[in-house]
């Protein structure tokens, strides 16, 4: 019996990126957007989420375990490829490289993000998470820039990931459907970046919408 392990792992790696991580990404951005309503509403959202019964089960099952698997196995996949954009500078070949680069940057960013913003109280003795504390963080341009880069990389990786997901799962077979999803992937990238950026600006009282 031949080993189908790597086949199954690769398919699951692709699936994990969209379901549940992609869905969670959207939920997360939506919750963040509460910041536009000011500190009162935002702090209530945090309280509700943190006070949710057995929230850690959801976190581990839907976020952390899929994320660790997607990220670590993604590194394995990255390791088996050898980019050749110097020789073949086609658009898709660049996207292949960017998908891997944004994946690594987003993964490193998320490690920082989770340790400081989710478990900062445990690991860094940070006071309880609140609108004001985050606003204080974002007044530091370095932190703001790190967040913007992390956000963009995640949005790009998710958008382009949907494009490759559709091929990996045999959803878009023809050139035309792939082209349509390619446009969609850029829309997702831009919309998620703007959606997140607007919430970030809300902490500084400068949100646009």
């Amino acid at each position: 019996m031949a080993s189908y392990r790597s086949f199954v792992l690769r398919k699951l790696q692709s699936l994990a990126g969209v379901l549940p991580l992609g869905i969670f990404f959207f939920v997360h951005m939506t919750l963040n957007s509460a910041a536009a309503k000011g500190g009162g509403v935002y702090n209530t959202v945090i309280e509700v989420m943190r006070g949710f019964p057995n929230i850690w089960v959801y976190e581990w099952a839907i976020i952390f375990i899929p994320l660790i698997f997607h990220g670590v196995y993604g590194l394995v996949i990255w390791w088996t490829g050898k980019s050749n954009v110097g020789r073949y500078g086609f658009y898709r070949n660049w996207m292949y490289l960017f998908q891997r680069l944004t994946g690594i940057i987003a993964f490193l960013f998320l490690i920082y993000h989770v340790f400081v913003f989710r478990y900062g109280e445990i690991f860094f003795g940070i006071p309880e998470l609140s609108f004001d504390w985050i606003a204080g963080q974002f007044t530091n341009p370095i932190v703001f820039a790190i967040y913007l880069i992390g956000l963009f990389c995640a949005a790009f990786h998710f958008g382009n990931g949907i494009y490759t997901f559709c091929i990996t799962w045999g959803i878009t077979v023809g050139a035309k459907s792939q082209k349509v999803v390619n446009y969609l992937s850029w829309i997702i990238c831009i919309v998620f970046t703007l959606y997140g950026l607007n919430s970030m600006l809300a902490f500084l009282g400068k949100n646009i919408f």
């Binding site: 050898k82 073949y88 292949y96 077979v173």
Partner: protein
């Protein structure tokens, strides 16, 4: 019009020896291809400095871009040297052997891995028998029109060479074998072994290791829709592995 043709060739004396570069200058003639230049060097193996050298070794056969034997890197891109016209190339014309296959000598490489891959995925039709099986089933024109494109594959290796997933740290089988599975599975006689072919592509190095860089389709000299073929095989695979399991 240039007075001469300058060639820069990456040479290697044996499978394990270190490669080195050599330059050649040939008198210009119109409408030459890379192979006619190599033949000229063979006739008079003298490098650009006037030193007599061993003739450059290369492989070729059909001279009309249907056999795939003369593939090499020409100015950095994998293509056939028979259809590479000097008048359309930037000089010096840089010739290198394909880098993703074992070197044999000079521009000759060993493409055995591709033929072994075709064996691995059973890229043939089982029609052997001792009795007359009659005429084969009719092939719908709708399928034939795209299947014919896939049948033009000459295992030249350009797709393998351009693929970032084909390298020493990966087992990826490459686009050729995947496209041939799609072709064989589409043939009315080939359906019998369709599942076996898909199973072979689920093994390590199979279709799941495609990284979606999509250079293969751009590099293919026969313009075979490799990307669509990979996606179509992915669809067959999902149907087989998920919905197939639900049939049990």
């Amino acid at each position: 019009m240039p007075n001469d043709i300058r060639l820069k060739i990456k040479r290697q004396d044996s499978q394990s020896s270190t490669p080195y570069w050599q330059e050649f200058v040939l008198p210009y003639r119109p409408s030459l291809n890379v192979i006619s230049c190599l033949m000229e060097i063979q006739r008079n193996p003298v490098d650009a400095t006037g030193k007599k050298v061993a003739p450059v070794v290369w492989e070729c056969n059909c001279l009309e871009e249907v056999c795939g034997a003369c593939s090499m890197l020409i100015n950095g891109k994998a293509r056939q040297s028979c259809s590479a016209l000097i008048d359309r190339l930037e000089q010096p014309v840089v010739l290198e052997p394909l880098s993703k296959f074992p070197a044999v000598r000079d521009l000759v490489i060993d493409r055995t891995v591709m033929f072994n891959n075709l064996k691995r995925v059973k890229a043939w039709i089982n029609i052997d028998g001792t009795h007359d099986q009659g005429p084969g089933p009719r092939f719908p024109e709708k399928t034939r029109s795209w299947a014919y494109e896939l049948s033009r594959c000459m295992t030249c290796g350009c797709c393998m060479e351009s693929c970032p997933q084909v390298n020493p740290s990966s087992k990826f089988i490459g686009p050729t074998a995947i496209a041939q599975v799609r072709l064989m599975n589409a043939l009315p006689n080939g359906e019998n072994d369709a599942e076996e072919r898909l199973a072979a592509l689920m093994e390590p190095g199979g279709v799941a290791e495609c990284g979606n860089a999509q250079n293969c389709e751009r590099a293919c000299p026969k313009e075979i829709p490799l990307l669509t073929s990979i996606a179509a095989i992915n669809r067959q695979m999902v149907a087989k592995s998920i919905f197939g399991a639900l049939n049990k």
